[in-house]
């Protein structure tokens, strides 16, 4: 039962580890240079999944304040102004902030997600450099199979 709980409540972490190991396996054991790079991409994506799942909360939404959250009585006061009973009072910025009732639990944590934008860019750049190097390897050795390249290096000696 405990094991089931550990698996079910933290399944996102289990999945990220499984994906990461798939990527690591491909990077280490594949013979084809492009397949290794695919493994590298899977590996990095697993870490992105890990970070994204840190920031997620159950039932939470994106960390943006909607208009009616900032001006909760705006519609009402407008209505009252129309009927001529209310005061024409526009709250200042400080008052709005002071009156806001924001529960942090209602919003997902944006920071890990923002960090992953950077990590995605880094990942794309790494993949680009990797593919460029693969292309150069192919031009130099006429193959992208690691075993064949090593054979041609040995025979050149």
């Amino acid at each position: 039962m405990e094991l089931f709980e550990a698996l079910s409540t933290k399944f996102n972490y289990w999945i990220y580890i499984i994906i990461m190991m798939i990527g690591l396996y491909a990077m280490i054991s594949k013979n084809n240079l492009v397949k290794k790079l695919i493994g590298m991409s899977i590996f990095q994506t697993a870490i992105i999944l890990f970070y994204v799942s840190i920031g997620v909360k159950e039932g939470a939404t994106i960390p943006i304040l909607y208009h009616d959250q900032v001006h909760p009585s705006h519609g009402d006061s407008h209505h009252e102004a129309d009927t001529g009973h209310g005061e024409d009072h526009h709250p200042s910025h400080e008052e709005i902030v002071a009156n806001l009732h924001i529960e942090p639990d209602d919003f997902g944590n944006p920071l890990p997600h923002v960090l992953m934008l950077t990590a995605i860019v880094v990942g794309v750049a790494t993949l680009g450099v990797g593919l460029a190097l693969t292309q150069k390897v192919y031009r130099d050795f006429g193959s992208i199979e690691e075993s064949e390249i090593l054979k041609s290096i040995k025979s050149a000696k």
Binding site: F43, Y51, A125, V129, L133, I153
Partner: protein
């Protein structure tokens, strides 16, 4: 201007890299002066920053005026001020060396090479200066991505070596990123000092999450610094890349990563956690003993000069990792001093290897036959570097080994002391073999004056000024750092003593 000095250290090469990328392709003559200008500003700013740190203590620089933990800051103390000065000086000296070497080796890509060079230096300086754990990851990747490209510009084998480096480097950096994620889960912060405060305030030292973060970060950093079983990417990358690349990355990348390890242990996780709670010290010191011995023996069996030096770098990494994990104040001081000393001695021998390669076009040891008569000044520079790597006084290498051995003895790790001494002996064998070849030649029957004269005419002459100058300056710096070791060590001790490592009883 003075207030901005920490930011200038890395902004000068960064901004000039952009200028170079825009203007350099059409105007190749502009590349070299711009690189020198950028790095000279960087060196000057490092000197100013170091002076300020000595006067005022820790300097904080807030980017855009945002204070941490919300903003990103540079935080400079006695440790990173010294390392930043070493990094910027080494990159300036290598840049001077590159004047002839880059057009000769990568003739069609001069401006691209220099742009990547400046960006790589920016990344390395950023790693050293930043106070933000996630920024550190981005900067590791900046310096790594540029170094893959810089290595890949070399010969046929270099491309494959760069590819392997890319795979290993990405695994290392990703592990580091993972560790930062675990730290963030527990502390909710990315600023190194804030993380430390949160760990202490919430008493998280016994948390398994922090433990996982530490393990993952250490593994990542060890891969990036080529700690012995994880070193496979290094030898070929530094052997077959262009000689300027080897002279830039060889001295810097591994040392900067050792700085990251020290920073993580001392500042982020605190030494009590790393040394006392985990009780890893014995294991890691034994690992470093194996690293030192295995790498030194591998170096002994190499016939290519560059590859031999690359294995020596791996052995030196073992010295420093061992010194950090001795759990001794003297060992820590020795390791930090060795970062600076080793940056310059590795630079010295790699510059020598680069000069030999450009002059003779060969990498094997027999290329050095009779060099004492043909290139006396180059050999003088090399001798200082070699003596420093062996550990002969008064070079810097002697004093760093002295402190490391003192640390080893006072913490009772005699196996580490023995490994250091054996490695010094092996270094002596290696370098005296080179000196013998350079002085007497490989063939015994070459003493005839007639034959000698003939060879003198055909053989290589003294290296050009732009190559010789950085080599001799580096040699002079090695002697200078050695002779003024007490001043340098005073700064380091001042930094290390606040952590009270000696009080940790194992």
């Amino acid at each position: 201007m003075i207030d901005q000095s920490p930011a200038l250290i890395l902004l000068a090469p960064f901004l000039l890299a952009i200028v170079l990328a825009l203007l350099g392709i059409k105007r190749e003559w502009l590349c070299f002066p711009l690189v020198i200008a950028g790095l000279a500003i960087s060196v000057a700013a490092s000197v100013v920053t170091l002076m300020r740190v000595i006067d005022e203590g820790t300097i904080q620089y807030f980017f855009g005026g945002w204070e941490p933990p919300f903003g990103i800051n540079l935080r400079v103390d006695g440790l990173n001020a010294l390392v930043a000065l070493a990094v910027s000086t080494v990159s300036l000296l290598t840049a001077i060396y590159s004047k002839r070497a880059v057009p000769a080796e990568t003739s069609d890509k001069v401006s691209q090479f220099y742009t990547l060079y400046l960006l790589s230096v920016t990344g390395l300086l950023g790693i050293v200066l930043t106070g933000d754990a996630f920024n550190l990851y981005v900067l590791i990747e900046i310096s790594a991505l540029t170094s893959y490209a810089l290595i890949g510009m070399g010969s046929r084998r270099a491309t494959l070596a760069a590819y392997k480096y890319l795979i290993m480097g990405t695994i290392g950096a990703s592990f580091y990123l993972l560790g930062v994620g675990y730290l963030y889960i527990k502390t909710g912060s990315l600023n190194m000092y804030d993380i430390q405060e949160q760990i202490v305030a919430n008493n998280l030292h016994s948390s398994p999450t922090i433990f996982v973060a530490f393990v993952v970060i250490m593994v990542g950093v060890w891969i990036k610094m080529a700690f012995f079983p994880l070193h496979s990417w290094l030898p070929n990358s530094y052997t077959y890349g262009p000689s300027t690349t080897s002279a830039l990355l060889g001295p810097l990348v591994t040392k900067v990563m050792i700085y990251v390890m020290i920073r993580m242990i001392l500042t982020v996780f605190s030494p009590e956690f790393a040394f006392d709670q985990l009780d890893w010290s014995n294991i890691v010191v034994w690992m470093s003993v194996i690293a030192i011995l295995a790498a030194s023996i591998s170096a002994l069996s190499q016939t290519s000069l560059q590859k031999m030096l690359a294995f020596l770098i791996i052995a030196e990494v073992g010295y420093m990792v061992g010194g950090v994990w001795l759990t001794d104040e003297m060992g820590m001081v020795g390791s930090i001093y060795h970062i600076i000393a080793d940056a310059f001695m590795t630079l010295c021998v790699f510059l020598f290897a680069g000069i030999i390669f450009t002059k003779t076009g060969r990498r094997d040891l027999s290329a050095m036959e009779g060099l004492f008569t043909k290139m006396p000044l180059t050999m003088v520079g090399f001798l200082v570097g070699a003596f420093s790597l062996i550990g002969i006084p008064p070079t810097a290498g002697f004093f760093s080994k002295w402190y490391l051995i003192q640390g080893g003895i006072s913490s009772g790790h005699y196996e580490y002391v023995a490994a250091l001494l054996i490695s010094s002996l092996i270094n002596a064998v290696i370098f005296f073999r080179i000196i013998e070849i350079a002085y007497f030649g490989t063939k015994p029957a070459e003493g005839h004056g007639h034959h000698h004269n003939e060879e003198h005419k055909d053989g290589p002459k003294e290296a050009s000024f732009s190559m010789l100058f950085p080599l001799l300056i580096t040699a002079a710096l090695l002697l200078g750092i050695g002779l003024y070791n007490q001043e340098v060590v005073a700064i380091i001790t001042n930094f290390v003593s606040q952590f009270n490592i000696g009080a940790i009883i194992l």
